[in-house]
Structure formats: structure tokens, C-alpha cells
Symmetry: C2
Subunit: 258 residues, 2 copies
């Protein structure tokens, strides 16, 4: 029987070590896959957790070296947060979207709406003399492109890369994976003008393709880097082109919930 | 070499026919899987598109049989919508969350926040004499439980069931799959109190497990029912228990974006 099944496979890359500044993440991915006799194929989507990208890029901040300004001190006092941490968050923030209780939702430097501008300390190795937090990559699209290019260099295989993070959402509990950087994949699938089964024009015409891939990979990654920060997704149809995760961000004036 | 890969596979059930009121959806799933020599395994998650569940349950409404009331007429005029359609939407609505331009976001009868209360006409076969729309299942958790129980009856295999739909989101473009009904799976993974790699208590403690599975399945389903409305997800760890998709809904007083 000819197998006509539509299938999609996600494989966590084994044996990724703890990541430090300057590490060649793509080389670790290739080595990890080789240790399992698994080869990348053209069209695979390699999903990499933000945290390991940030670590490789040295995006650590030692809080005892941070001087909180007056805005950070005031906000920290109101929210019961560490003023040095709030200063770091504000340094990554374009605009505060909501600050209520202990929840600080902002528009981050790259336009992402997320809690604490993506600044986090879980799964970050701590210096002995200072609490240490991790920022998002400076430019996650560029990080994704570098990974994609380096994987091509090492393996000869052209893949797409998505850098993902976990975000809370309005209305619904729990954090879900989203794409914060992309390379070689259109993050939104545009089906405007297509017809349904009965010839009627489709209603939901924009599909959050990269976010759905990011969410799927997140199921295997678990939280943070736990040793499974990279997942290879195979079997997803997508438009392969130069792109940016900023295409996912809804302009403020088109957003009913800003 | 022992294969220690963490993997997850998604398989679209082939040969699901167009669904009509009264159809035994579980039987079609079993037949479709049999046609590909694919067997369900304990622990599999069967993700079923809302649209086929609604069709099997006869949740069709013929718009020319709907009498719009004054609220629907006023809202429809303001939004440039069909007043009969708006009447149907309001009939499924607890509270209007936003009405701006042509976008109507409501709290639907079951507590979901979504556009048009989930009422949709794409991929709905139309009666000759009336435009026809489809409502969400009356109680998607009950629908999921019936499917789970019927699959057990037909195959002897206990699976979890998620009924998914595609929702737009604030801040981010594109619709993504979410779980609107569940059976046999805790929709939120609660990791409160767990420690990270370095012994620090985890920050993101609630994981949107069922929504991430719904989003992953959505990548294979494509839009609407296109012939691939059912996807079997294998390899996800989850807590198997009686549960409700209402556990995903954030109470209004805890929501910063209502």
C-alpha cells in the first residue's frame, strides 16, 4: 500500500550541553544530531529556544552592577519587584502596556508584547556574587539567520530556523510557544482570496504558522533549556523566503487590546 | 545504538468524508485510520476540528429563518454586517468584549473569548434557499468525552481528545489553534514549585499544554475541514484525568485585557 499519510515529526536534538557565551550553537546541534544518527533534511524547521541563543550571545546581566533610576525605583516599589531587575526590564522596553500587581507587560525593544520584556532568570546559571538575568537576543531575526547559515555551512542542508520563547496570553491561562525570530520561513501564511470546499472565500485568511510551529516544538522542549532546547520539525509546508518575525506583530493602531 | 530520541509525531487521519448531522465521527476516524493501517495507541491525543464536531451535532443555522432583534439590527448597521448573522452571534454571546470596525470579539456562551462567538460559514455546505452558518458545539467538553468514549468502544484503546478551533490573538497577526473542548487530558500543565537546572524555582509555572497540541495539529489540518479535520498526536507527556477546557479560561477579574 502506498503511504499517503500527511505526517509531521518533531525530534528533540539530544546531548546539547549547557551553553556559554561564544559557543557555536549550530555545531552543538550538528553534533547532537550526529550522536543519534539523525540528519537534517532540506525544508526542516530547526526551532531553538531563546534562552540558549541569548546565552551563546552573552546576553547576561549581573544585577549588582545595575543602577536603578527613579522610574525603576518607583515602579519596583509599587510592584514589589527588585529595582535593579525593573531597571533592566525598562532598558529593554519601548512602552509599558500594563503594570498591575506583580505583572509587567511591555512592548519590548523589538516590538514584542510580553511580560518583563523577556528578561528572565530561570535556567540561568548564577554568579556567586550577583543574581544574574538573561535578556532576549539583541536581534532574534539576525540570530536565526546566523544559525541557518552556519547549519548550511556545516551540513550543506538548507533549513529554516525559528527562535521561540514562551509567552502568557490574554484571556487564556498558561504560557505558549511563540516565534520571536525567524530565518528562511514566512511566519504568517497568507490565504487571502483562497476558496473553501464549497467555493466560498475563506474567513480566517492569515494563519500564525511560525507561532504554531513554535508552540509545537515547545511541547518537546519543556521549559527553559532542560537539555532539550532544540527541536527539528519535519513535514510542515511553508513558504521559504527571507522574512522577519516582525511580520507577526500587529501594528498598535490595528490592535483592539493595547 | 539505543535510540533515546524524544520525538513527537502528528498524523492526519486520511479519508474522512464530508460530515453531516448524526454522523458517527468516531467510526469515520477508526475507518480512516484502518485505511492507512494505522492504529491508535494508549496515550495518543486525537485532535478534532470544531467544524466537523458541529456538523455532526447539527449546529447549522439557516439565516433566513432568523429574526434579528433591535440590538442585532443596530450593531449590524454600525459594523456593516448581516443583521441575521449578528443575531445568531448575540444568541451565542454572554458579553461583548470589543466591537470595532468589522471585528466583533465576545465572550461566547462557554466562556471562550473569540471573534463572532465562533459562528462561521467557511467550509459549511450551503442550502439552496438560505445562507447557512455553523455554531460551536453546545458543550465541547461533552462532545470530546463522547468521542473519547466511542473511540474506546470501537478500538479498546483509551486516548485523550481535544476539540480545536482557530482563534485570532491580541498583538499578534494570524489565527492559531486552541483547545475548546478536552477529554482525558489536563489542559494546563502546572509546574508550580518545580526547580530549574540550577535549583531556582520556575517562573512560567503554567504551561498551555492543550493549546499547544491544538496549534500543532492545526498545522496539519489546514483550514476548516479540507478533508484533514482529525489529527492523531503521539509522544506528548500529559496528565490523563477528567478535565474541562474551561480550566484554560482566565477569570475576568484576573485578566488585564478585558
Amino acid at each position: 500500500m502506498i503511504n499517503m499519510l500527511h505526517q509531521m515529526t518533531l525530534t528533540a536534538v539530544p546531548n546539547i550541553p549547557l551553553i556559554h557565551e561564544g559557543d557555536d550553537l549550530a555545531a552543538f546541534i550538528v553534533q547532537g544530531l550526529a550522536s543519534a544518527d539523525f540528519s537534517l533534511q532540506p525544508g526542516d524547521i530547526v526551532v531553538v529556544a531563546q534562552k540558549v541563543v541569548s546565552k551563546a550571545e552573552g546576553r547576561r546581566v549581573r544585577l549588582n552592577e545595575v543602577q536603578p533610576g527613579p522610574e525603576a525605583v518607583a515602579l519596583a516599589e509599587r510592584m514589589g519587584k527588585n529595582p535593579r531587575l525593573v531597571q533592566v526590564i525598562l532598558g529593554e522596553t519601548r512602552e509599558i502596556v500594563r503594570a498591575a500587581g506583580a505583572v509587567l507587560v511591555v512592548e519590548q525593544r523589538n516590538g514584542l508584547i510580553c511580560a518583563n520584556a523577556g528578561v528572565d532568570r530561570s535556567n540561568v546559571d548564577q554568579d556567586a556574587d550577583s543574581e544574574t538575568v538573561l535578556l532576549l537576543p539583541l536581534d532574534p531575526d539576525t540570530s536565526a539567520r546566523h544559525l541557518r547559515d552556519r547549519l548550511l555551512e556545516l551540513t550543506g542542508v538548507r533549513v529554516a530556523v525559528i527562535i521561540n520563547d514562551s509567552h502568557g496570553r490574554p484571556w487564556r491561562a498558561g504560557a505558549a510557544g511563540v516565534a520571536i525570530g525567524v530565518a528562511g520561513i514566512a511566519p504568517i501564511e497568507d490565504r487571502r482570496g483562497e476558496r473553501d470546499l464549497f467555493g466560498y472565500e475563506l474567513q480566517h485568511t492569515l494563519v500564525a504558522l511560525a507561532d504554531q510551529v513554535a508552540a509545537a516544538a515547545s511541547l518537546l522542549q519543556g521549559q527553559g533549556d532542560e537539555g532539550r532546547p532544540v527541536v527539528v520539525v519535519r513535514g510542515v509546508s511553508y513558504e521559504a523566503r527571507e522574512a522577519s518575525a516582525s511580520e507577526i506583530l500587529r501594528p498598535k493602531h490595528q490592535d483592539l487590546f493595547r
